[in-house]
Symmetry: C2
Subunit: 341 residues, 2 copies
């Protein structure tokens, strides 16, 4: 294979208002400079698109700085090294790094992490179940919500990559009941049939608040929240005393242009002695070995299954934008990844 000399990448053209559109993005192809000492050139096999990226498109202070206007977007990617001027990274290595949204990346070797391929598992797994996605599910459940064997667990956005992992980890660790919500009948069916949830709720069929009591007749001890809004409100109705909520995301609010009212039953937090804990993964990366030790065997044995929705952007990097918009619209089942090679 010839070593590529150009990189095609996606820029942030404008800050989206509400739902992003294609006009907010722009694709450009640039010539790469010669490799400097210590640098590597990587052909990205897969790039990740994630809900948190929507937040970075706004010009607001958050746990990660906003994307700069007119600059290339970034995000997790996995690829193969095609050229190296670094001692510790070799041509042919599979590496994880942060220069996604492009087909070819060039960066300091210090900014990549070499990973060991797992036979029969595509490298995209390092963007998902064996990477940040799986770790987020595990950390939220075990470290944030302090899951205990026998807990009844609710997961929102449960057909998503994090949600389906969280529900399965709860089941494998001995939950008394695992309930999930999703936005289509097909996804709800997958929760039960594919991921082994005890019950699934289609939150578009009727308000989740009206459906949840039947799905969780004995209440919920642990809620893994990816959605916020009406889902959090519904959960607060049925949480048991001493219940714990891990707040992992708030998809319901990402596109909102007006502040959204919060749950109208926050007094339950007091009267039921609930704990709501928001988290981002930054402070929990050190749990990766413990996570891999517990979850890795389940993935290899097939006890824990994972799905990917792969958008093919080979030769058309602009399709990364389609993948991102589809993610925000809930078109994915499992982790949304973009194939770029």
């Amino acid at each position: 294979m010839d070593i590529p000399t150009q990189s095609t990448r996606v820029l942030l053209n404008a800050r989206p208002t509400g739902r992003p559109t294609h006009a907010d993005f722009q694709v450009e192809t640039v010539d790469l400079p010669p490799l400097a000492t210590g640098q590597v050139r990587v052909v990205n096999e897969f790039c990740s698109v994630d809900p948190y990226m929507r937040g970075r498109m706004n010009d607001v202070k958050s746990y990660v700085p906003p994307f700069a206007l007119g600059e290339p977007l970034v995000g997790a990617a996995v690829g193969r090294v095609v050229a190296s001027e670094a001692d510790d990274v070799a041509v042919g290595d599979v590496v994880l790094h942060g220069d996604g949204w492009r087909d070819v990346a060039q960066l300091d070797a210090a900014a990549v992490r070499v990973v060991e391929e797992v036979p029969g598992v595509p490298t995209s797994a390092f963007l998902g179940i064996l990477g940040m996605t799986g770790l987020t599910a595990w950390v939220g459940l075990t470290q944030i919500a302090r899951f205990r064997e026998g807990d009844a667990v609710l997961v929102s956005g449960a057909a998503g990559a994090v949600g389906s992992a969280a529900g399965q980890i709860a089941r494998l660790k001995g939950a008394s009941r695992v309930v999930g919500s999703a936005g289509t009948p097909e996804k709800v069916a997958a929760l039960v049939e594919r991921y082994g949830f005890d019950a699934g709720i289609d939150y578009r069929a009727a308000p989740i608040r009206s459906q949840l009591p039947d799905a969780a007749p004995d209440g919920i001890d642990v809620y893994f929240d990816n959605v916020g809004g009406d889902h959090l409100e519904a959960a607060l109705d049925v949480m048991t005393t001493g219940g714990r909520v891990a707040l992992c995301g708030a998809i319901s609010a990402y596109n909102a242009t007006e502040p959204q009212p919060g749950p109208d039953n926050m007094t339950n937090v007091v009267t039921r002695s609930l704990t709501l804990t928001g988290f981002t993964l930054a402070a929990y990366q050190h749990h990766m070995p413990e996570f891999l030790a517990e979850v890795g065997p389940w993935v290899r044995s097939g006890e824990l299954v994972f799905d990917e929705t792969v958008v093919d952007a080979v030769g058309d990097v602009g399709r990364t934008v389609d993948a991102f918009l589809g993610l925000l619209d809930g078109e994915n089942t499992g982790k949304m990844v973009v194939r770029t090679a």
Copy 2:
């Protein structure tokens, strides 16, 4: 003194809708039966009225069962034993018990706790700073919000009994800044001048959300919430990353007949990795010795001051209702107690 043979007490006549009125209560005088073996008769010196009692007047499941219609109200009281058929409680003992809202109580000795009078301190202190009130403040700050020396602390309802104790304990334990909110200019002045807060906010003068950023220019690490509603929303705006909120009460919602919208900035809980923990004291009573060991000396030395608003109900037990309604309207400074003897 003759041993009283009657008890005058307050019944719940109707379940209040919104703000309670006198029509929701009824006063009755009954003859007491002869003391049975193991019982004591207590002349109540002080009875407590507390915000949580409003919740018990609704017919809804909560952490304490609702008051029964047509039955006497109950609540914390401190009094002196005037007759005893129990081995371990003597005439003249000062006892804490749960049969308040009345002038004379008769109950099993097992249901009272003998306390040791502190010279120069009225027995009403056992209903407040040296009792559940002080313990609530200490538990919320140290066990729930995990206060650390150097934290910037916000207390809402800060001129109240729990709030003024929480703010002072925070100061005495080394807070970098203590900010409180209250509902009148006089109370706000007391926060700074009497309780040693660094800043006070009059939440009736302007929305707290607009005032708080100036009062807490470096943000808030620990929020002790007695109010909920707009106060919690304002706090979530300024909480620092990793901040902790102890949710102790929600006075703003107690009289609401419609569900109140929650904070419109709940996504901050995720992006700033906040923890919101509701609590009631039931699970934390065992901290009483640790609490008394730390806070007792501060009370005796005068480093920690406390206020009481005493409503005189001697000979007119019905004035307990006035005290309770005044509490809900914020007419008290410090602990609201009712003198019944």
